[in-house]
């Protein structure tokens, strides 16, 4: 049995969390860069639904939403990461007279929030790996 590490439910969930956070960081960078562009609307990513992730992780080992392969000649299909997370106009900001709706303070809070959550996820990942090492007697 070829066990792929990223097929483990915990690691797969962390992987998805980290991809989401990095995609969000990308959207926030665009907001901050466009802080003086007239007519620019601030955007943010839709939060991932924990129930969905948990459901996917516990019932379907390939919860990334791709096609299952039941034959060695099948080609696995996984949706591209950026297409998977939809972005939306961020709701709580009022546009200034030039039509720009980026609030620098709000964006800074979001950036540090994303960074902290990414740190948490990567720490959990490292912890899971070290537990695995303990289990195989390597650590």
């Amino acid at each position: 049995m070829a066990a792929n590490l990223s097929d483990m439910p915990l690691l797969a969930m962390l992987k998805q969390r980290m991809s989401w956070l990095s995609a969000r960081q990308n959207v926030l960078a665009q907001n901050v860069a466009n802080v003086d562009t007239p007519g620019y609307t601030a955007r943010d990513l839709k939060p991932i639904d924990f129930q969905d992730v948990l459901h996917g992780a516990t019932t379907d080992p390939k919860f990334s939403g791709g096609l299952m392969t039941t034959d060695s000649r099948h080609i696995a299909l996984t949706p591209s990461q950026s297409a998977a997370f939809g972005d939306v106009a961020s709701p709580d900001v009022e546009a200034n007279p030039s039509g720009n709706s980026v609030s620098l303070e709000q964006e800074m809070i979001r950036v540090s929030d994303t960074q902290a959550e990414y740190q948490a996820a990567s720490n959990l990942y490292a912890k899971a790996m070290s537990m695995m090492k303990t289990a195989i007697g390597g650590g």
Partner: protein, 136 residues
């Protein structure tokens, strides 16, 4: 890699802000530049513009500095008959630069630049964090 995209986007914002800063510096430096010929027009204030541009290869919205546009407000007139550039009535036209406005713009550009820098720092820290997983 996604974090590299964030870094590129933040860098484009910083480039746009520093371009804006250059235009502001030109305005402040030329706040008292009169015309070369008597009665002619002095330095006209420039306004920096930025526009956003979707980069298909990157899949992100970058910022590019636009062409500076001329400020069409009136020139200041000062009675100074001794000035070599004065018109026959003794008035000299001075540039339509208001240093208070320029300094306000400068602070705004500086603030936006710092915000871009913060985003860059955060992205870099997250990237390092990911690479650090290899060490554990």
């Amino acid at each position: 890699m996604d974090f590299t995209t964030s870094l590129i986007v933040a860098a484009s914002g910083m480039r746009a802000q520093s371009d804006r800063m250059r235009v502001i510096a030109e305005n402040i430096a030329n706040a008292n530049s009169t015309a070369a010929t008597p009665g002619g027009d002095p330095y006209r204030r420039k306004i920096a513009t930025v526009k956003s541009e979707f980069d298909r290869e990157l899949g992100a919205t970058l910022v590019t500095p636009g062409k500076p546009v001329a400020d069409s407000t009136e020139f200041r007139l000062q009675y100074d008959p001794g000035n070599p550039n004065a018109d026959p009535k003794g008035y000299v036209k001075l540039p339509n630069v208001n240093s208070l406005v320029e300094i306000m713009d400068m602070r705004e550009a500086q603030r936006s630049y710092e915000a871009d820098l913060t985003v860059m720092d955060a992205s870099k820290a997250m990237l390092t964090r990911t690479v650090d997983l290899l060490r554990k």
